[in-house]
C-alpha cells in the first residue's frame, strides 16, 4: 500500500511494521482513509490497527456505515519528536489479495486538496443513512473517534446502564431548547407524537424514499459520529443509542437530502 507524505509517496510493504516521522507537516492537514479500522485518537497520535483484528471493528454490529469515510483533522505538535506517526500494519494474506490497495491509502494533504476525488469514491459506498448536506459543508468536520471494541475497558453491562439518554431538542424558530429522555419512548411514532405536542406542530408522513412529506417539517438528529441524519431511517434501537441531539428543521430552509444509495 502507498503512503503519501509531503507530495512524495512511499510504499509500505505489507506484513511489516512501519514508522514514519512527520516532522515537517503543515499546520493543519487532513488524514483521510477508507480503511474501516482506522481511527484517530488525540490531536497528536494516530493508530492504525491490524486489519484482521475484530478488536477494532466498530462496536455497533448493526452500523450500516462501516465503510463510511471519515475525515480526521490532526494538528501536529510543536515538538518534532512528538510528531510520530506510528503505523503498524499487519495484513493477513487474504486481505492483501482481496483489498483494493487504495482502500488502505493514507494521505496527508492540505485541506481541500483532492476532496473531489474522494467524494467520487464515497458515492459508491453503500449507506442506509440519508446524509444531510447542510450549510456546514464548508466547515471542516470535527475530529471523530471511531469506536474500538472493548475500549475504554468498561463492562458492557455498565455501559448499557449508564447510557445517558437525555438529548436536547431544538426547533427552528422556537426560542427555547427542550430536553427529553429517549428511553421513555419505545418507537418513532411515540417520539414524534411527543415532539408534536412539545413544539405544537404536525409532522407529515414518513416514507423511506422521500422522507417526510407534506408538512414542511423535518425532524433530524445528530448521531454519535457528529453527522446530521433524518429521523426514521435507521431501526429505533440504533437511533436511540446513537442520537445525541435533535433538531426540527423547517422545510422552507430548502435542505437537500442526499441519499447515498
Amino acid at each position: 500500500s502507498r503512503v503519501h507524505m509531503d507530495g512524495q509517496s512511499v510504499y509500505v510493504p505489507p506484513l511489516s511494521p512501519c514508522l514514519i516521522l512527520a516532522s515537517h507537516a503543515p499546520d493543519n492537514f487532513y488524514l483521510s482513509s477508507f480503511y474501516p479500522n482506522f481511527y484517530a485518537s488525540s490531536p497528536t497520535f494516530i493508530y492504525l490497527s491490524p486489519l484482521f483484528s475484530s478488536s477494532t471493528k466498530l462496536t455497533n454490529k448493526k452500523n450500516h456505515n462501516k465503510n463510511k469515510r471519515r475525515i480526521l483533522r490532526w494538528k501536529p505538535h510543536k515538538n518534532i519528536l512528538i510528531n510520530f506517526l506510528i503505523l503498524k500494519k499487519t495484513m493477513t494474506y487474504e486481505k492483501v489479495n482481496e483489498l483494493n490497495l487504495k482502500d488502505t491509502e493514507l494521505r496527508l494533504g492540505l485541506p481541500g486538496t483532492e476532496q473531489a476525488k474522494e467524494e467520487q469514491e464515497v458515492s459508491c459506498v453503500r449507506s442506509n443513512k440519508r446524509q444531510l448536506q447542510s450549510d456546514n459543508e464548508e466547515e471542516s468536520t470535527p475530529p471523530t473517534k471511531t469506536q474500538i471494541v472493548g475500549w475504554p475497558p468498561v463492562r458492557s453491562y455498565r455501559k448499557n446502564n449508564n447510557s445517558v439518554s437525555y438529548v436536547k431538542v431544538s426547533m427552528d424558530g422556537a426560542p427555547y431548547l427542550r430536553k427529553i429522555d429517549l428511553k421513555t419512548y419505545k418507537n418513532y411514532p411515540e417520539l414524534l407524537k411527543a415532539l408534536e405536542n412539545m413544539f405544537k406542530f404536525t409532522i407529515g408522513e414518513y416514507s423511506e424514499r422521500e422522507g417526510y412529506k407534506g408538512s414542511g417539517v423535518i425532524p433530524t438528529y445528530e448521531d454519535k459520529d457528529g453527522d446530521w441524519m433524518l429521523v426514521g431511517d435507521v431501526p429505533w434501537d440504533m437511533f436511540s443509542s446513537s442520537c445525541k441531539r435533535l433538531r426540527i428543521m423547517k422545510g422552507s430552509d430548502a435542505l437537500a437530502l442526499d441519499s447515498a444509495l
Partner: protein
C-alpha cells in the same frame, strides 16, 4: 515406632486451617497429609475451569461443600472473547451432581450457565444454600424460578451483572411460603418488574435477611415499604430513585432510612434526583461501602453526601464527582481503602466538560492513608501525578489507571508515561495488580520487570515498541500470574524465549498483537502442559507459519486439550496434520 500424627488428630488440626493456600501447602508435606487434607477440604476454588477436569476435582475432594469456578478470561468483560468460546458450567454441575450431592454452595464467574444447569442444581443438591453468579450468561428467569421453587434451604441468591434472558418477574413468586432462610438476595441486573406483594412477603418472612439488592424496576415508593419490613439490612441496593413522591411518602422514606442502624453498604440509586439525596444522610455515617457508579448525579449535589461518610472504606463513583468531589473525599473519608472512578460518558449531557483530572486522584492519595486499591478512568494523566501518588501511597496493592485516550502522553510534558509507572512499581513494593495505559515505551516495561516483584496481574493495552516489552515482563516479574495484553506490537521471540515462564502462570492473553501462527505451533509443541488456544474468527484456509493470529489464550492445565472448543478456536491437537512449525526462532 510409628511417629506419624494420627489422622484424627491431624483432621482436628486442619479444621482450623481455612485458607486454601495453607491447605495446598499442607497437602504437599507427605502422602498421608495429602489424604487427610483432601478428605477434609470443604471449600474448593478452581480459578480456571479448564485447568482441571470436574471429575478429578470431585474425586480429590469428596467432602466438598462449596465450589468456586471461573471461566472466561478477564478480557471477556470487554467483548474481546467471541461468543461461544467456552466456559460452560454444565460439565461441572453434572459431575458434582453425581459425585458430590452434598454440595451446598456454588459461585461461578464468567461462565455460561443455562436453565438446564439451574434446573440440575435445583434437582440434585438437596441442601443447596448459596448460588452466586457473577458476569455469567446463558440462562433465563425460568432457571431462577427452578432454583426458587426447589431449594428449600436457600440462603443466598446473587446475580451480579449477569446477562439474563428476562422473561418476566414471575420467578420471584416461586419462592415458597415455607422459605424463611434467606440471607442475601441480589437481582439488580434483571429488567422486569417483580410482583411487589410477593417481594414484601418474602422479605417479611426472612428474619435473617442481611443483603437485599433490588433492580431498577423497583420504585422508590416500593422501597419505602420494603425498608420498613427489613430495617436490619446490612447491604442495600435500591431500585430506581426517581419517582415523584408526595411529602408524606418522602418523610416516611426518610424515617425508614433512619431506622436502619445496621446498614453498611449502599448501592443502586439509579436515576437519583438531587432532591432525594438528603434522604440518605442518616445512613451515611455508618456506611463502609458506597456504590454511586450508576447514579448520574453531579456536583455539587454529591458533596453533602460525601462529607457525611466518614467511615467509608470502599467508594465507587463516576467521574461526575470531579476533582472537587475527590478533594472532599480526601478530607472526609479517612478510612478509604478502595476507590473506583468510572467514566460517565457524559459529553452529551451538558456543555461543560467533566472537570476530573489526575489531580483528583492525587488528592485522595494525599488524604487517605489506607488507600490500597485504585481503579481510575481519566482522559489524560501526568508523570508528576503518578510520582506524587506513589510517594504518598507506597501501600498500594492494586493500581489500575485507564487513560482513555490510547497513546496519550503526559499532557503537561508530552513525554511518555514511563516515569510515572516507574515510580509506582518502585515505591509500591506490595503492588499485586497493575493496569497501564497512555503512551508507553519499552522502558516502562523494563521498570515493571525490574521492580514489580510482587505483581500478580498485569493488564496492558496499546503500549510498547517491541518484543523487548514482553521479554522484560516475562523474565522480570517473578510472581506474575495473569498477563493480558491487547493491541501491542510484538511478538514471537519474547514469547517463545520465555515459554517456561508460562507454566508458572495461570494464563496469558494476547489479542491484536503480532504473534504468528508458527510461534503458536512451536509453543504448543514445546510445552505440552499448556493449552495454547488460537482464537481466530477469520482464519485462512491454509495458515502459513508467518500469518499473524487474532488472539491467543495460553493457560496451564492438567486436563489436556478441552473437548468443547468451537470452530474458531484452534489448538495443535485439533489439526495435527499441520505438523511441525518451520518457523526458526533464534
Amino acid at each position: 515406632m510409628d511417629l506419624r500424627l494420627p489422622s484424627k488428630v491431624l483432621e482436628h488440626i486442619l479444621s482450623f486451617v481455612d485458607s486454601n493456600e495453607d491447605r495446598n501447602s499442607v497437602s504437599l508435606v507427605c502422602k498421608s497429609w495429602f489424604e487427610t487434607e483432601r478428605r477434609t477440604r470443604k471449600r474448593v476454588i478452581v480459578r480456571n475451569c479448564y485447568a482441571v477436569t470436574p471429575e478429578a476435582v470431585a474425586r480429590r475432594f469428596p467432602e466438598m461443600r462449596s465450589l468456586t469456578l471461573k471461566g472466561k478470561p478477564h478480557f471477556a468483560d470487554y467483548n474481546l472473547v467471541p461468543d461461544g468460546w467456552g466456559g460452560y458450567a454444565w460439565p461441572w454441575i453434572e459431575a458434582m451432581a453425581e459425585k458430590c450431592p452434598s454440595l451446598e454452595e456454588l459461585r461461578l464467574k464468567r461462565m455460561v450457565v443455562t436453565d438446564e444447569c439451574l434446573e440440575k442444581i435445583a434437582a440434585s443438591f438437596k441442601d443447596f444454600k448459596v448460588l452466586v453468579l457473577t458476569s455469567c450468561e446463558g440462562f433465563s428467569t425460568d432457571g431462577l424460578a427452578a432454583i426458587a421453587v426447589a431449594c428449600s434451604n436457600l440462603r443466598e441468591l446473587e446475580l451480579r451483572e449477569c446477562i439474563v434472558e428476562d422473561l418476566g418477574g414471575d420467578w420471584l413468586s416461586y419462592f415458597p411460603e415455607t422459605l424463611t432462610s434467606l440471607v442475601s438476595l441480589d437481582f439488580s441486573c434483571l429488567d422486569s418488574e417483580v410482583k411487589l406483594s410477593d417481594l414484601e412477603r418474602l422479605v417479611s418472612r426472612s428474619p435473617n435477611l442481611k443483603s437485599l439488592k433490588l433492580n431498577r424496576a423497583v420504585s422508590l415508593d416500593a422501597l419505602g415499604s420494603l425498608l420498613r419490613l427489613a430495617p436490619q439490612l446490612v447491604e442495600l441496593g435500591t431500585g430506581s430513585f426517581s419517582d415523584k413522591l408526595d411529602q408524606e411518602a418522602v418523610s416516611k422514606l426518610s424515617q425508614a432510612f433512619s431506622e436502619m442502624k445496621e446498614l453498611k453498604s449502599l448501592s443502586g440509586l439509579w436515576d437519583v434526583l438531587p432532591e432525594y439525596i438528603p434522604l440518605l444522610y442518616s445512613v451515611c455515617p455508618g456506611l463502609t461501602s458506597l456504590n454511586l457508579s450508576y447514579a448520574t448525579v453531579q456536583m455539587p449535589d454529591l458533596l453533602e453526601l460525601l462529607t457525611r461518610c466518614s467511615n467509608l472504606q470502599k467508594l465507587w463513583v463516576m467521574d461526575l464527582i470531579e476533582d472537587k468531589g475527590l478533594e472532599v473525599v480526601a478530607s472526609s473519608c479517612k478510612e478509604l481503602r478502595e476507590l473506583r472512578v468510572f467514566p460517565s460518558g457524559a459529553e452529551g449531557l451538558n456543555d461543560t466538560n467533566v472537570a476530573m483530572t489526575e489531580q483528583g486522584l492525587v488528592s485522595v492519595s494525599e488524604g487517605c492513608p489506607n488507600l490500597e486499591s485504585v481503579l481510575y478512568f481519566c482522559v489524560q494523566f501526568t508523570n508528576a501525578a503518578m510520582v506524587t501518588i506513589a510517594r504518598n501511597r507506597p501501600n498500594l496493592k492494586c493500581f489500575r489507571l485507564c487513560v482513555m485516550e490510547p497513546f496519550a502522553p503526559d499532557h503537561k510534558t508530552q513525554k511518555p508515561l514511563d516515569e510515572g509507572f516507574k515510580a509506582i512499581v518502585e515505591r509500591c513494593k506490595d503492588l499485586q495488580r497493575l493496569s497501564v495505559s497512555g503512551l508507553l515505551t519499552d522502558k516502562a516495561f523494563e521498570y515493571i520487570g525490574t521492580h514489580g516483584k510482587k505483581l500478580r496481574m498485569l493488564s496492558i493495552a496499546f503500549a510498547g515498541d517491541s518484543d523487548l516489552m514482553l521479554h522484560h515482563l516475562l523474565s522480570g516479574c517473578e510472581s506474575l500470574n495473569k498477563l493480558e495484553i491487547r493491541d501491542c506490537p510484538f511478538g514471537d521471540t519474547a514469547l517463545v524465549a520465555n515459554a517456561a515462564k508460562l507454566e508458572t502462570m495461570r494464563s496469558l492473553w494476547m489479542s491484536s498483537c503480532c504473534v504468528s501462527f508458527g510461534a503458536c505451533k512451536l509453543l504448543s509443541q514445546k510445552m505440552p502442559k499448556l493449552n495454547v488456544e488460537v482464537i481466530d474468527e477469520h482464519p485462512l484456509e491454509t495458515r502459513p507459519d508467518s500469518s499473524p493470529v487474532e488472539r491467543i489464550y495460553i493457560y496451564r492445565t492438567l486436563a489436556g486439550p478441552r473437548l468443547d472448543m468451537p470452530e474458531f478456536v484452534w489448538t495443535i491437537q485439533k489439526n495435527p496434520e499441520i505438523g511441525v512449525s518451520h518457523l526458526a526462532i533464534k
